[in-house]
């Protein structure tokens, strides 16, 4: 059973207890899988909408494109968390963080729980957004750019992106506390360890949003 309430509302107490236990990636794997499935659903929704853009020659892709989107999102989530944990671990190690990579990976996975809720909301908003579009097959490069911009813009997509940033900051807060507790770091070092990659990520996200 995943202690969701404790992780979200009192992550300090949760990580204090976690550090006393041996490292285990079972529950983190389940969390990442759930996160990945929700991301996959959102990707499948976007892929289904993109089917209408396919030219006649690529019509055979219409059935498998959502499946490809879903699988890619699930696998991509695992890879992203792995890389993200690696970045956090490297930076925190440079700032004298203690413990192995598995512990960093563990706390990173627990920290993604807010993004699970964010993914649910994002999937609903994306579905509403793509349902409002009437898309036609595109052939030229200019059309592809125009359609992509249209698919990625709009109030619902903006709201989705803003919510994504909010839950990401929420996750950053959990990672920060996790670093302090699990990697035995001062708040300043932990804030730097988490803050640098989070700041880069937010800059990239905001640039895309603008």
């Amino acid at each position: 059973m995943i202690p969701v309430k404790e992780i979200l509302l009192s992550p300090g107490d949760f990580f204090d207890e976690l550090i006393k236990k041996p490292e285990s990636l079972k529950i983190p794997a389940v969390i990442i899988l759930i996160y990945g499935i929700l991301a996959g659903v959102a990707a499948a929704i976007a892929s289904s909408a993109s089917v209408a853009l396919l030219p006649r020659e690529a019509a055979f892709m219409s059935g498998i494109l959502p499946v490809i989107g879903f699988v890619a999102a699930v696998i991509g989530t695992f890879i992203f968390i792995l890389i993200w944990a690696g970045i956090l671990h490297i930076i925190s190690s440079l700032l004298k963080g203690e413990g192995g990579f598995s512990r960093t990976l563990e706390l990173t996975a627990y920290g993604t729980i807010p993004q699970i809720f964010g993914s649910i909301i994002t999937a609903v908003l994306m579905y509403m957004h793509f349902s409002s579009l009437s898309l036609s097959p595109v052939t030229s490069q200019a059309d592809i750019v125009a359609v992509t911009e249209m698919m990625a813009s709009g109030p619902l997509m903006t709201a989705s992106a803003v919510i994504g940033i909010i839950v990401f900051l929420w996750s950053a807060n959990i990672w920060l506390i996790g670093m302090m507790k699990c990697r035995k770091m001062q708040m300043k070092q932990a804030a730097i360890s988490v803050g640098i990659p989070v700041a880069v990520y937010l800059i990239i996200s905001l640039m895309a949003l603008i």
Binding site: L9, S10, G12, A52, G118, L125, S132, S136, M150, P155
Partner: protein, 381 residues
């Protein structure tokens, strides 16, 4: 006195009769037994013949010096043919044929003369009618309006108002604006006050006229009469009229689909109705063509056609059908498939008017929850 006058009158009658139709001495008697005019009724300018039959009912031969036809109203063409005749034996019949040309309309009585070698002569008046009424051509049936490249039927009637029979009647159409299935129709003999119907299939190409000419012979003389029909292209008021409505354009995996209804708003059946799309659209499966079949007046049917159109905003929707005679018709309706070259948003769901309230509420709620959770986590920490 009264008795003397009666005798004189009787004598004059005897002399007159003897000089008019017979010539005879004791034992001979020559008379005109019949005559035949061909054609029965001349037309102005016609050339024809009069055949006079003379018989000698006496018991002796009669010497004939000359036979002739005397008239100032017709022009004799062979008045020297019987300059010398010879004798006519007892109970012998002899024919004299004269060729005449009619000048003007009227009833004329040229006189047939026989001069006897023994002196005296015989004359006989022959009636010839000259009347120039031609055959009458009338249109019985024709379309209300001719349509370009659509075969139509024109029915004519040829009537003979003349007193005599005409021969070799042929009706032929002439036009630079239409083609005809028949080059001519042969009727042949047409009796007095009789008529005959003829049918022509006309395929018009442009505005113009059609001339129907009836050619015929009166005796040996050729004549013709004609009638002209104006050829004006237009819409047949009774033709089928497919009307398309309830059009809906949707996108599919392969392109577009147009759905709608076709209603026959005309007065004739539309047969073999097929709906498809024209260039620049390229029809695709599963509904390249949508075959509706026959549509009766006021009947309707739904259709779906699939196609792709790479860059067009508007494509032509084609409704093809035939009439009862198999003539092909096509109706084109331009259908707008895109608002912009490649994409559009559903107007009813357009979100450009501003941030939806639900999105704002969601953002605020998530921000509040996240903020509260972060605050709570640090407070407990």
């Amino acid at each position: 006195m009264r008795k003397t006058a009666l005798l004189l009158t009787l004598l004059l009658l005897i002399i007159s009769a003897a000089s008019a139709a017979t010539s005879g001495t004791s034992g001979s008697y020559v008379s005109v037994v019949s005559y035949e005019v061909d054609p029965g009724v001349f037309m102005q300018g016609d050339t024809g013949t009069i055949k006079v039959v003379v018989t000698n009912s006496g018991t002796e031969s009669v010497d004939i010096r000359r036979a002739t036809m005397i008239t100032k109203d017709l022009q004799p063409l062979n008045d020297q043919a019987y300059a010398t005749v010879g004798s006519i034996g007892p109970d012998v019949t002899k024919e004299f044929t004269f060729t005449l040309k009619a000048k003007g309309d009227g009833i004329y009585y040229p006189r047939f003369f026989l001069d006897f070698s023994s002196g005296g002569s015989m004359s006989y008046p022959v009636m010839i009618k000259v009347e120039s009424s031609p055959l009458e051509l009338s249109v019985l049936e024709k379309p209300d309006a001719f349509q370009k490249d659509v075969k139509s039927t024109v029915k004519l009637i040829v009537g003979n108002p003349r007193e005599n029979t005409v021969n070799g009647v042929i009706v032929r159409p002439v036009s630079e604006s239409a083609d005809f299935t028949q080059t001519s129709v042969f009727i042949g003999e047409l009796e007095s006050n009789a008529n005959s119907e003829v049918l022509f299939y006309v395929t018009p190409e442009s505005d113009g006229e059609i001339k129907f000419i009836a050619e015929y012979r009166n005796g040996i003389n050729r004549h013709e009469t004609e009638i002209i029909i104006p050829l004006t292209l237009g819409e047949d008021k009774k033709s089928a009229n497919p009307v398309v409505n309830n059009l809906e354009v949707t996108t599919t995996a392969e392109g577009f689909r147009i759905s709608g209804d076709v209603t026959n708003a005309g007065l004739s059946n539309a047969k073999s109705v097929v709906v498809t799309t024209g260039s620049p659209a390229v029809p695709t499966e599963p509904n390249r063509l949508y075959v509706i079949g026959e549509l009766e007046p006021d009947d309707f049917s739904g259709f779906d056609v699939d196609f792709t159109a790479e860059s067009a905003e508007t494509i032509p929707l084609l409704i093809q059908y035939k009439d009862e005679d198999g003539n092909d018709y096509a109706k084109t309706i331009d259908v707008k498939i895109r608002d912009s070259p490649q994409l559009s948003e559903s107007p009813a769901k357009n979100n450009d008017e501003g941030l939806p309230v639900v999105a704002i509420i969601l953002v605020i709620a998530v921000a509040a929850i996240a903020g509260g959770a972060i605050y709570c986590s640090w407070k407990k920490n």
